[in-house]
Each structure stands twice: as C-alpha cells, then as structure tokens.
C-alpha cells in the first residue's frame, strides 16, 4: 500500500502531510498561542511619530545589527533590568501595513548594542542626532553606517525656529554658511529610540537571570581597595558616548570633564548630584540625563573616582557611603 519507491502520489502526499503536520505543531499553533498576550500596565502606547520611527528602523535594516531582547542569562544584564517577556512587544510587533508584516525586532546579531533599554540609557535627543548624522562624531571606534540622508543642509540665514539643528563638528562638516537640520524622519526615528524603555513590572517583582559564576579579579587595583567596581570600564560603558574616552567632550554638544572645575572640586557634592539627577543648566550643551535609577552608589563612586583621577584631573577619592548620603539628601523620603 505504501510503496514509496513506485507510487509517486503516495510518496509526495506522505511527505507533504508529514511536513505540514510537524509545521503546524512546531510553528503555526505555538505562534497563534503566542499572540494571546496583554501589555504591561505601565507600558505606554506608541505615538504616531514613534510608529513612523519604527517603520524607518525597519526600512533602514537596523535589525541587521541591533537586537531588542534581553535574554534570561546574566551576561545580558547590561541591556536591561530584567529578561524580556512577550508583553514587552505588544505595541511594537504588530503588522505594519498591508505590504509589510510585524517587524522582526528580536534580531539575531549584536554587531551594535542591544536597544531594549536605549531610551533609558541614552535619552538625550542631541546625542542621537549627532550619532545618526555620523556615529563617529560621538563614538570614534563605531562601525555603524552614517545616515546623512535623514538630515538636510540649510543656509544659515534660512534656519527657522522650528528647525532642529545638529552641532556637527568641523571634522565632519566644514561649511560655516550651512547648517545641518534634522528631517521629520530623523526626529521620528529618535522618538522611537527614546521610547525604548523596559516597562516596570507591577508590584516591583524582578524575574531573575540565569546566573553565571564570575571569574576572580586577576589583579587588585586602587579602586578594589575601596571595594568598588572598575570605574574606567563603567565610564566607557555609561559616559564615554557623550563625554568621550578622552574626557574632552564634544564642543557644542557635550562638556569636557578634563580640567572641569566641577569634577576637580574638593567638594564632590555637585558632581554626584549631577550624575544622580542630570543637568541642564548650560544652554550651549545638551541635556544630561539622570542616572539615579540606573547606577548603584558603588558604581557612581567608581565613575566619579575615575573622572577625578584621569586626563590630568586630580582630586580626592570618594566612597560609596559618600554617594549614599547625597542620594538620601536629594531623594524625597517617601520614594
């Protein structure tokens, strides 16, 4: 009856039925069930501008290098406070239009950083504008493509109040009579990136990561003597995108830390306050986001110590306890 060798109809029908059955079981049914999720209560709806940004994110192929998933393993802790869950994608992973399906946001390659939490990590619009115009203006080692077609050049005299200008350094755009202005597309893409924040879970519960044992540190440095994490590494991770690894900042965008009176001040209070609360007192520079919710006291102390003792700076070290006092001072008691 089942003579596959001689009966082509039986052969093809069996292969077809077998594959179809397996496919339904392993792909179609689980996929169908996966749609049955609700958004988290704290998760905001995407605005029209943010959705437009998402659509640009897809057409420019950003997913080729950027993932948007915090895996449940410890090494992914740097990308978010908790592992990603199906609800996180409730608003973003919907069919885009009749021609285009739900975007493949999870990604399979991390040539660039994961973007699950980029809105929290890097909220400053000005940084994103510079970075999109040419990533090497802010991160000199970056290999990300530049997106000048999301910007236009305008004669300096034609700039109106509504135009968002980008303070690109001379090295990348050298024409004093012209200014770089962001297009609607650039602003939409940035609005989308700024919206990427992991929503808080109700009740403050945090699902755990699968732990991996850490290697013992090879050689103890001065900071480990104070029992602090590695400040240089934390600085590269958290601060260098704006203030640069050289500590020189970017003229017209981000202030220098090297030689800064605030950083070198024997009284560290303002420095720590700025890291905790952010800073927007100087109009010639972009706004600095607050890091109170992202960095621990130990991490802030380590970063401050790194800044106070690099690039020619020299000031006394501070401890996690010092940071804790200032944090208590600036945080309302009921929080």
């Amino acid at each position: 009856m089942f003579n596959f060798h001689k009966d082509h109809r039986t052969l093809i029908n069996t292969a077809l039925a077998g594959f179809l059955l397996l496919s339904l079981g392993i792909a179609v049914l689980p996929a169908y069930q996966m749609q049955d999720v609700e958004p988290l209560p704290s998760q905001p709806l995407l605005t029209e501008q943010q959705l437009k940004g998402l659509s640009i994110y897809i057409s420019e192929g950003c997913v080729a290098c950027h993932t948007q998933q915090v895996r449940s393993i410890e090494m992914d802790k740097m990308w978010g406070g908790r592992p990603s869950m199906p609800s996180d994608y409730y608003f973003s992973k919907q069919r885009m239009d009749i021609w285009r399906q739900s975007p493949s946001l999870l990604g399979s390659e991390r040539t660039g950083p994961d973007l699950t939490n980029i809105g929290k990590r890097q909220p400053a619009e000005q940084w994103h504008l510079l970075h999109l115009y040419n990533p090497r203006t802010v991160v000199s080692e970056s290999v990300m493509p530049a997106y000048p077609w999301l910007f236009e050049t305008k004669d300096a005299s034609e700039i109106s109040d509504n135009d968002v200008t980008v303070p690109v350094g001379k090295e990348f755009f050298n024409d004093a009579s012209q200014q770089i202005v962001a297009t609607e597309d650039a602003l939409a893409l940035i609005a989308y990136l700024q919206s990427l924040k992991q929503a808080e879970l109700p009740g403050g519960t945090t699902p755990a990561f699968i732990a991996s044992a850490k290697k013992a540190p090879a050689n103890a440095t001065a900071e480990q003597a104070l029992d602090l994490p590695d400040g240089a590494s934390l600085y590269t991770q958290t601060c260098a995108a704006c203030h640069q690894t050289t500590g020189k900042g970017l003229p017209g965008a981000f202030p220098p830390l090297s030689g800064s009176s605030i950083v070198n001040d024997a009284n560290y209070e303002l420095l720590v306050k700025i890291i905790l609360q952010g800073y927007d007192a100087r109009s010639e520079f972009g706004q600095m986001p607050a890091f109170a919710s992202q960095l621990t006291n130990e991490q802030i102390a380590a970063i401050a110590n790194h800044e106070r003792n690099s690039w020619g700076n020299s000031a006394a070290k501070i401890s996690a306890e010092d940071v804790k006092k200032i944090r208590e001072m600036v945080t309302p008691a009921n929080d």
């Binding site: 792909a27 996929a31 021609w99």
Partner: protein, 600 residues
C-alpha cells in the same frame, strides 16, 4: 601511556577555559568537578591497560598461529625438494640462471616507424608530460544526447544563476568592506542595513535556487527516462524567479522591507512571484516523474520533489498573517529561516548529490536504503529545530528545548548522508586526484558533515551562551551555504555542462577557481569564528560593549580578504561558464567541388 598523558592536560584545559566554571556545587557543571574528572581518568587508565593487554594477548595468539603455519609450510617444501628428481632440479636452476643474466637492450619501447594512432585513442600530445606546476586532469569523455530544448533550459537557468552569484557576492563583499571603512560613501541605497538583505536574498533565491533547479531539470528527465512535461512552463518559471529577485532587490535598496526577518525581507507581492515559480516548477517536475518510463522513482527525485513541496508550504506559512503579531512572528521567523536552509537548499542539494556524485564516479550510490533513511529523518528532525535561533529568548522554554534536542537529532541524517557519499567515493580516491569535478564534491561532502555537526553543537545552551549574536553565526552560515551548497552546485555544473555542450573549461582556471574559493572560505570562516568567540567571552566578562567592536576590527579585515578571494574565484567561475557555453561560429572549411557535388 600516551593517552593518559594527553587526556590530563586536555581535561584541565577544558576546565579552566570554561567561563562557567562553578564556584559552588551545582549540577550544571557536573562533568567539571574533580571527582568526576578523576573517575574519568581512572577509568581511562583501566581501559587503557585493558586495551594494551588485550592487544598483546591477541598479538601473541596470532604470532603463534603464524609460526605454526610457517613450520608446516617449511616441512611441505622440504618434502617436495626431496621428492624431486635430479633432471628436474637442473632444469629449474638453469631457468633461474638465464633469468638473472637478462638485461634490457635499450630499444624495447621504440622503433623506426612513424607514430600512428589507427584507433583514435590519443586525445592530446604534449612535450612536457611532467609539468611541475599543473597536474593534468582527465578530460570529460562522451557527450550525452539531450534534447536541445532541455539543454537550452539548463544553460539559461545556470546562466542566470551565475549572474546572480556575481551580483550577490559583489554586494556581500562590498558590505563586508563597510566594516573596515564605514565612511566609504554615504548613499542611502548602498548603506549596510539595506545591502545585507540584498546579499543574502540574491545568493539564496538568485544563485543557489536557480542553479539547483537548472541542474534538477537534467536529473528529473534523465532518471525518469522521459522528456520534461513542458518546456514552456520551465521558461515561465525562469522569468518569474528572475523577476522576483530583481524587483525584490530594488525594493530592498529603496528601503521597502517586509519586516527585517532574515530571508523574509522581500515583501509578499515579490515573494508571491517566486512562490508561483516554485509551484510551476513543482508541477512540471511532478508530471515528468509521473510519466516516467521506469517503475522506480530514483532517490534524487524524492529529495527534489519533496523539497519543492515543503518550500511551497514554508513560504505560505511564513507570509500568511494570521498568527504573526507579537512573538508569534518570532516563532515563525525561527522556523522559516531554518527551514529555508534545511528544507529548500539542503534537501534539494542532497537530491542533486545522489545523482551527480555517483554519475561523476561512474558507479552506483553506496546504499539506497541509507538515502531513504536520510530522507525521512531529514523531514522529521530538520522541521523541529527552528527555535534554536532564539535560545534564552522570551519564547516558550519547551519550544527552545525541543529545538535543541532535535538539533542533536540532526546527527542522524547528517551521518547517514555523509557515510553514504564517502562510501560511494571509497575505492575511487585516485579518481578524485585525476578529476577537476570531484574535489568540489569532496569539499561539499566534508563540509556537509563538519558544517551541520557544528551547527548542532552551536544549538546547545552553553555554546549558545558564547556564540549567539556574535560573528560566529555569520561564519556558520557561510560554512554551510558556501562550503556545502555552493561547492556541491559547482561540482554538478562542472560535471554536466561539458557533457551537454561538448566544451570544457581550461583546467588551470577550474583549479584557480577551486583553490581561491576554498582558501577564501577558510580565511573568512576562521577569522569570524576566532573573533566571534573572543567577542562572546568579552560580553560574558561584562566588558564595555565598544571593546567587543574594537577587538573585532582585525578579524573583519581578514574576513574582507577572504571575501575578496571568494569573489575573484566567482569571476573565474563565470569565465569558465562562458567557455563551456559559448557558441563557436562554424569554421569556414574549404569545401572541394567534389564534396559539393555529393551533397547536391
């Protein structure tokens, strides 16, 4: 004691190199605990001694048997000598004496006569038979009688494939260079995010798919001992495939993208053209097989027909919208991107190997039954492993586990297939060194084993930990799509085209193509594997992300170098293709009046 000495440092290496080395007692690293390692070593010692003893014992026994036999022979010989008569002994000795005194005159091989090849056996005369640089390979003998319509279809499918190979790998090479010089130019149509899918889709749907189908037209007609059901339909499908790849690429470069899922970047109207082409091809093949003039369906046709069936279903599932919002899309994406490779390229190419490999060796396949086993296990195991692209992701844990388990199950079809092909080659190794076709098959078969096994290992949770999201994935996909599929397709093309067109490519160029592609692939693979591993370890150690970008830079340079070699080899391949198919204007022979009269 050699093994023991080796095994001890090996275990220590393993134990110290793993970043998961446990500090507390946990079950996940059971094989790393000193007790287990010690037990392993002890058992190894026992095993080692047992093997030594057993070998010695066996040796003794065999030696004893041999000695007994020799003694018996000596006795028989002595008895024979004694039994001989004096005259007989003299005759033997004299014959021996004459033999020892013989020597050559020096003119045994030549004569004063002119050389004449009265049976047409000599193909080529050379004055330097021992060329130190290029090993002369065997010529392709006998051309096959094939209907000219079929020949034309095969040549046009392969021709389109060669064009897409050049386009696709040029784009790939260019995209690879952008890692080294990100500010080369800033044209939106040529930016990395848009070109990456152009590269993958062009080599997938343009090069490999067109080449496979072109080669299959010959297999289907030949093994069914009949003509193709409809040549016209073959042409329609040809047009649909090319149109689909062309339009798809224009869309992608213009920024029109289905959603960014790998190999699913063509929007549905474009992919529909491709699917229609697949369906027409399937019907054409199926009806040809249905009207075959022999009762058995050759195993190649199993793979080819099933592959077309499965891929049509696959494309439908991938593009239907009803279950693809939220993470439903991600499940389908994992399923689709793995099946695209497994059910389409791998299954189809295996079908081609089952025909062209035995054909080029001029002997039957080693085991037909192993082929059948490989067929059904391919369907069962391959279909279930898609989610291994999303290990540790928010997809259901059971789905991830099923994928990992069946990834390990993939050993069965892979080992079955490899065994079958290698056993078919066994006994014909000297054919390989004499042929310019078989080395391509050998590389393809070896990579089939190495690439697939490595893929299964990569699906395990620990290796995923290190390699996932790194450039190691890119190395793996090139090892398989290039090392397996592309090398096999080249082998098939070099084997069949000269038989169809009666024209062979210059052997030196085929050699250049082979070696440049092979060395290029190796440079590409090794650099990205090494770099990818370092990248993964850097992430596990929690170093700032930008450090992993900086550490990759030299590896990306090596990748670009390997990629350039591969691309140059494709130009040579295109040249060879041209040599094989170019139409020669019929030479103007002086025709004698006598002949004209006869013709008239």
């Amino acid at each position: 004691m050699k093994f023991k000495q080796l095994s001890l440092p090996l275990f220590i290496c393993l134990a110290s190199s793993t970043p998961l080395a446990a500090q507390s007692v946990t079950t996940d690293n059971w094989y790393m605990s000193p007790g287990i390692i010690g037990t392993f070593i002890l058992i190894t010692i026992v095993l080692f001694i047992a093997v030594i003893t057993l070998t010695a014992r066996l040796n003794d026994y065999v030696g004893k048997l041999k000695k007994r036999k020799q003694a018996r022979q000596r006795l028989a010989f002595a008895e024979e000598l004694i039994g001989l008569e004096a005259g007989e002994i003299d005759a033997i000795l004299q014959k021996r004496k004459a033999a020892l005194q013989y020597h050559l005159e020096g003119n045994e091989l030549g004569s004063d006569l002119d050389a004449e090849d009265s049976h047409g056996l000599i193909d080529k005369v050379t004055s330097e038979p021992e060329n130190p640089f290029f090993d002369e390979k065997k010529k392709t003998p006998i051309s096959l009688e094939t209907p000219w319509e079929l020949k034309k279809i095969i040549i046009y499918y392969l021709g389109a494939a060669v064009c897409w190979l050049l386009v696709g790998t040029l784009v790939g090479q260019y995209a690879g260079m952008k890692f080294v010089w990100p500010d080369m130019e800033h044209t939106s149509w040529l930016s990395f995010g848009r070109l990456r899918p152009v590269h993958t889709n062009t080599v997938f749907w343009g090069w490999a798919s067109m080449a496979m189908i072109g080669l299959a037209y010959f297999v289907i007609a030949r093994t069914s001992n009949t003509t193709i059901h409809s040549y016209k339909k073959a042409w329609i499908a040809w047009g649909l495939f090319n149109l689909s790849v062309l339009l798809g690429n224009i869309c992608l470069m213009a920024g029109i993208n289905n959603g960014g899922g790998e190999y699913r970047e063509f929007i549905w109207p474009v992919m529909l053209l491709f699917a229609a082409g697949l369906f027409i091809t399937f019907r054409n093949f199926y009806l040809t097989v249905a009207h075959r003039k022999i009762s058995e369906i050759y195993i190649s046709n199993w793979f080819i027909l099933a592959s077309l069936t499965w891929t049509i279903i696959l494309v439908l599932i991938a593009y239907l919208p009803f279950y693809q919002n939220g993470l439903g899309e991600t499940i389908i994406q994992g399923y689709y991107m793995h099946q695209g490779v497994g059910m389409w390229f791998m299954t189809f190419s295996l079908g081609l190997v089952y025909y062209y490999l035995p054909f080029s060796l001029n002997k039957p396949i080693y085991s037909y039954s192993l082929g059948v086993l490989a067929f059904w296990t391919q369907m069962l195991f391959y279909t279930l492993i898609g989610t291994h692209h999303f290990v540790f992701s928010p997809l259901p844990w059971w789905l991830q586990t099923v994928a990992i388990v069946f990834s390990a199950g993939m050993f069965i079809p892979v080992v079955t297939g490899t065994t079958n092909f290698l056993m078919t080659m066994k006994g014909s190794w000297n054919h390989i060194s004499k042929s310019y076709v078989l080395p391509f098959f050998l590389v393809g078969v070896i990579f089939y084993f190495v690439g697939s096994t490595q893929g299964s290992l990569q699906a395990f949770r620990f290796t995923n930990f290190v390699w996932h999201f790194t450039d190691f994935n890119v190395a793996h996909s090139h090892m398989t799509m290039y090392g397996i599929i592309t090398f096999i397709l080249w082998g098939c093309i070099y084997h069949i085209l000269p038989k169809l067109t009666d024209k062979e490519p210059p052997q030196i160029l085929v050699g250049a193509h082979f070696w440049m592609a092979f060395i290029g692939l190796f440079a590409y693979m090794v650099s990205l594997m090494a770099g990818g591993t370092l990248k993964g370890l850097s992430w596990i150690d929690g170093h700032p992300f930008i450090e992993s970008v900086i550490l990759m830079k030299p590896f990306w340079v090596w990748r670009a170098i390997g990629g350039s070699l591969m691309f140059v080899s494709h130009i040579i391949f295109a040249l060879n293709f041209y040599y094989m198919v170019k139409k020669e204007a019929p030479a103007e022979l002086p025709v004698s009046n006598h002949l004209k009269k006869i013709v008239a």
